[in-house]
């Protein structure tokens, strides 16, 4: 499934993601990592911390709805893979980000922005294996 190259929209959307990361650090002193936010929602020992994470997550899910009001349509979710792949991928991502200590937002953006060597290494690792995985699935096994 080919998709359009959208340099300007992607640059602008990326800038908003960066802005959100800066605001969370300047106001609340935290790294904006989706893994960390979701992981923290699965612990219930600190109600003040939980409510903050729940508010961030609610805001995230409201993003496409705000877009609906603005643009008159929900964003496209194109899924060129089966539901089995979605579930398998979800499990593998969950285990990986848990051990790796973060994902694209936490390591790839926030970590690199504060010059963390760990985050640079993590980002190189997950980008490389994602590229290799898609190559194997699409070009060697010839799925999708």
């Amino acid at each position: 499934m080919a998709t359009d190259f959208t340099p300007w929209a992607s640059l602008a959307g990326g800038a908003l993601i960066g802005l959100a990361a800066v605001l969370l650090m300047a106001l609340h002193g935290r790294i904006l990592g989706a893994t960390g936010i979701l992981g923290g929602l699965l612990r219930f020992d600190d109600p003040a911390d939980w409510s903050l994470r729940a508010a961030i997550m609610a805001g995230m899910a409201a993003g496409p709805l705000a877009w609906l009001i603005f643009a008159g349509e929900l964003p496209v979710i194109g899924l060129p893979v089966s539901n089995t792949a979605v579930i398998l991928g979800g499990l593998v991502v969950g285990v990986g980000v848990s051990y790796g200590g973060g994902c694209t937002s936490g390591h790839g953006i926030c970590g690199i922005a504060r010059f963390s060597r760990r985050s640079v290494v993590a980002t190189v690792c997950f980008m490389a294996t994602a590229i290799a995985t898609v190559f194997v699935i699409r070009h060697l096994l010839e799925f999708a």
Binding site: A21, G29, A55, A62, P64, N83, C110, F126
Partner: protein
């Protein structure tokens, strides 16, 4: 104020993921498909995000503490170990299989697409599985 600002920050992030196209797994997977239907958009998302976050963090860290919390909470680990490398490599494999990463999937929940809920449920399963494994087999202390 604390929760309202957190909601607005989440909203800005969710809009960013939406506008950038990273809410769409087809687009993300095409970034990885260099030998096929390559779509370099994700690199522009990273460039846009880092273009704001790099100078923005420098400004934020000029203050002693964040505006609405007593202190900055930053990871203090600096070691590059097997755990970091293998965990991140594993994440990349899952990302390549499904096309969603956590930061793309959480905003995508707002579209009500059932596959996104499947992914997030499996993601939570994976997080809890890893948590259970880590409790049972604690990391060996090297050094």
């Amino acid at each position: 104020m604390r929760l309202i600002s957190a909601f607005v920050i989440g909203l800005v992030f969710g809009l960013g993921i939406t506008i950038s196209g990273m809410i769409n797994p087809a687009k993300v997977l095409n970034f990885f498909d260099i030998a096929g239907t390559w779509d370099p958009s994700l690199a522009f998302v990273m460039a846009g995000a880092l273009g704001i976050a790099l100078p923005g963090y420098r400004l934020a860290f000029r203050r002693q503490a964040p505006a609405l919390a007593p202190a900055f909470q930053l990871p203090d680990t600096r070691v590059i170990d097997r755990r970091l490398v293998l965990g991140s490599a594993t994440f990349g494999i899952g990302w390549g299989i499904a096309g969603f990463c956590p930061g793309g999937a959480l905003p995508a929940l707002g579209t009500g697409n059932p596959s996104v809920f499947l992914f997030v449920a499996a993601l939570i399963g994976g997080l809890l599985l890893a948590r259970g494994l880590q409790a049972r087999f604690p990391a060996r202390k090297t050094a």
